[in-house]
Amino acid sequence: MQLHFTRALGALMLGSCLIAPATAADPVKIGIAAPLSGGAATYGHDVKRGAELAADKINEKGGILGGRKIELIFEDDKGTPQGGVAAVQKLISVNRVNAITGGTNSSVVLAETSITRSRILHVNGAAQADAITDQGSPWLFQINNTVSANSRSFNAYITDVLKPKTVAYMGENTEFNKTVLELLRVSLKAKNIEIINVSTYDADTNDFTSIITKIKSLKPDLLYVSDAYPARAAQLWKQVRQLGGFPKEVTSPGVVTPGMMNPSEGAMDGVITGEIFVVSSPGEANKKFVDDYRKKWNVDPGKGNLVSYEAVILIAAAMDKAGTVSDYEKISKTIRDNKWASPRGELSFDAKGRATALNFYIQQVKGGKLVQIDQVKSN
Amino acid sequence: MHKTPADASTQATAATEFAVRASDIHKRYGGVTALDGVSLTVNAGEIFGIIGPNGAGKSTLFDVLCGITKATSGKVEVLGQDVTRMSPHLVARSGVARTFQRTAVFGEATVFDNLLYGRHSSFRHSVIGRIFRSPAYRNDHGAFEAKAREVLAVTGLGEDRGRLASVLAYGVQRRLAVAVALMSEPKILFLDEPAAGMNGRETDDFIALIRLIAPGRTIVIVEHDMAVIKSLCGRALVVVDGRPVVVDAPDQVFKHAEVISAYLGADDD
């Protein structure tokens, strides 16, 4: 059904997309839809930085397809589905981009896929909701681990290594955190660890004292926090610290950024989390990426920067290998059939178009920096 | 037809049915007592004046009579029906119209639309009726046009029909206010300080207008300008400190000692 209808859409719009055949000299345009205004703008920043570094790298090497440079075109998705649709529409029909990437907020990317499906190559960088790639779509790929992939690895660490007796959960009321919570429930149940409190708050909450007070009164062994928004998470951990903290403290994988640790002013020290990327992880590729990034932006890269970097690199490399910028059938096949170098090692994409990180790093905040304390095979 | 005090009083005795009857009205705002036991009877067809120094409670009484504010205690009857607790728009629909001191007209609308709005309570058509030009709509329409022509003629606003009310001269706005009131074909017309701020000529024109529309109506006027009261009213009620002092022919009331003292005492504008 869905596919059928979007075919119609694709067919109808293709006409307007493929006028004016490109010559070898024209740049290859990559459209990036990301939140550049409003509350989510901080994620948009991450995307922008990573992508621009990638473009620089490719163009230094003389571009792709015998000298065609990469040109990035940014459009604000305003962090809303409507904004995302408008941004992608414009990138495709007005800017005539050859591929779409960016995207940080799951519901936004989900809306965007209804436009890009069967119409243009769409590589989703950061957004983690499984729903995005669940239906599977021939020209849609995802760089970042899905929530479930991340949680499986991280929860395994909690249940097998940390081995808490009781767990309390608090997190923002979003799709991402809901999924995290569901998966946590499942894995804890399997090892019959009791989850003694669940508190989900909404986006405008900035006082957590009563929640924390209540949880403390239940004396849990481990506090599991799931909040991806830096400003709020920082406040939350400060307040946890001020009320005495908990024996074991973990936060959902894939959300801890420098932008979260700095404002927390050390309050996050000791917190354990998991990530598909860590600055200090071994490997030449990773070291080079981190150095380049530091050189360009003189800060440490985070996961958000990495995935948008990888997305641009992947698009360029795949187009180069497939020898086309518009035959998405061919490009997609190329992506599926090959392994792709990345700072994290070689990425490969499954039938649903999802890349799964080779390694999953367990990290702990120490002195306001993430330090790797363990490494589990990503599954 | 101009009423002299004489034939007013004869009519007062002759008339059996009344237009407005208020009995023992009290009105308190928090601690302040604005009206303290006012009773009055306005006979059908007369022009009745309410006068008194500033802050005597004239306007409060006026608002109570035409249902805008509710009395704390007491009873108000208009045209034989008890309106003491009736909501203002229903009082209006029962044949009572009024003008205001300040917010007199619909400023952003043309004179013509002012009349249109004034006609509200006698319209019957619905939006659907409007779309399909239902009989109800066409009736309203015809009746309105006829009435509008008549009122425009009476009030001499024909020339200004297309103008914005807010750009009209003050005196003209006052006539428009009366015109709006007339559109609902009221049996009783309350005029709240109609001549306030008018120059001599405007006042004379206005008095003429009131005389013109008086026949077949009861009119109640609150007014500072004694000239207006004297030349229009058959009887007038003097209110002082929320209490009724005397009801009599205008030139008689000023013979009353308490009235004199009150007026000398109060600094009237």
Partner: protein
């Protein structure tokens, strides 16, 4: 009443013809001619413009204009600022989402039902809030939209929770696929024109006149027999219906309904549209919507600079031309008339 105005215009001095802020005046541009122009323009646009982006955006703009119109019923009609109007916009969106995805209803039916639900909700909310005026009304209605947002987030079984309703079957109206940009545009523009016709009739009806009289001078209106609360409620119900319709027609565009649809941001956008176009002109909100949605896509500006400019524009408009562009243009026209020796009004 259309005959009266024209009749008035004929016999009245030329002053009557000058455009003003008065509601009834706004509708005195020969309605049929305007209608004809609108239809022709729509047809030409829909057939000649090939850029699918522009056509789609145009369709979405028409759909969102319905919401702007509904806001203007409250703003231009009652003089209230309905910050919570997005509640009804959201009901429209979720109505379609739930109707089509959970119950497999056709789009038209789902939209109709959502409008019905919206009216019911409006009756309830109106009974609670319409006795409040000014800031009180605005803030409380805003609060209700906040409640709606929290509900949409938490009632996962009904609303699909934070990720909302997505994965729609092909949406068609009268078997026109709305996935097709042209189809979408023609459907929304038709609905929009019909809505404008309805509002025009309302404005000239007894109800419209009463509403306008309440806005201009509620005490006088009351004294000529207008039941203020009743008029306010009727206006509220009408606006809720339009808002829901707009919300429903926005769904085919984004293909997803999320709790953000209840965020005050939507209301604010619509408010800005109304103010840009002028709240006293019947089609003002639509003009505003066009400006508001089209221009940003061609201003290559940092989005935050854009917000800064738009907000500043609004402040300036409110200070110097509360009637919006409509007022500015008519002022210019008047000046031009004076220059060209036309009779000076007044």
């Amino acid at each position: 009443m259309p005959d009266l105005p024209t009749e008035a215009a004929m016999t009245a001095p030329p002053a009557a013809a000058i455009p003003t802020l008065a509601g009834a005046q706004g509708s005195r541009v020969r309605p049929l001619a305007a209608l004809g122009v609108a239809i022709v323009a729509a047809v030409l646009f829909g057939t000649l413009v090939t850029n699918s982006f522009i056509v789609t955006i145009a369709g979405y703009t028409c759909a969102f204009s319905l919401f702007a119109l509904s806001i203007n019923i409250m703003l231009g009609g009652l003089g209230e600022v309905p910050l919570g109007q997005c509640v009804f916009f959201g009901i429209g969106g979720y109505g379609v989402g739930i109707g089509m995805i959970k119950f497999g209803l056709p789009f038209e039916l789902a939209a109709a039902l959502s409008m019905a639900v919206s009216v019911a909700a409006a009756a309830l909310i109106g009974a609670l809030t319409l006795r409040l005026t000014g800031a009180y009304f605005s803030i409380v209605s805003w609060g209700l939209s906040g409640v709606a947002l929290v509900a949409a987030l938490n009632l996962t079984d009904v609303t699909g929770g934070p990720l909302g309703m997505y994965g729609f079957p092909p949406i068609t109206v009268a078997s026109i696929p709305l996935a097709n940009p042209r189809g979408y545009f023609f459907v929304t523009v038709t609905v929009l024109i019909l809505a404008v016709l309805l509002l025009h009739a309302v404005r000239d009806s007894r109800f419209g006149a009463a509403m306008e009289s309440v806005r201009q001078n509620r005490h006088l209106a009351q004294s000529v027999g207008v039941d203020i609360f009743r008029q306010r409620l009727k206006a509220f119900l009408l606006s809720a219906t339009l808002a829901a319709l707009g919300g429903a027609l926005c769904v085919p565009y984004a293909q997803i309904v999320t709790p953000e649809i209840f965020s005050v941001g939507n209301t604010v956008d619509a408010l800005l549209m109304v103010l840009l176009g002028g709240s006293q002109l019947l089609v003002g909100p639509i003009i505003g919507a066009v400006i508001f949605t089209v221009i940003p896509h061609y201003l290559e500006l940092d989005p935050n600079v854009r917000i800064l400019l738009f907000s500043t524009a609004i402040v300036l408009i409110m200070i110097f031309a509360p009637g919006g562009l409509h007022q500015i243009s008519s002022a210019l026209i008047r000046r031009f008339k004076r220059k060209s020796g036309a009779q000076d009004p007044r």
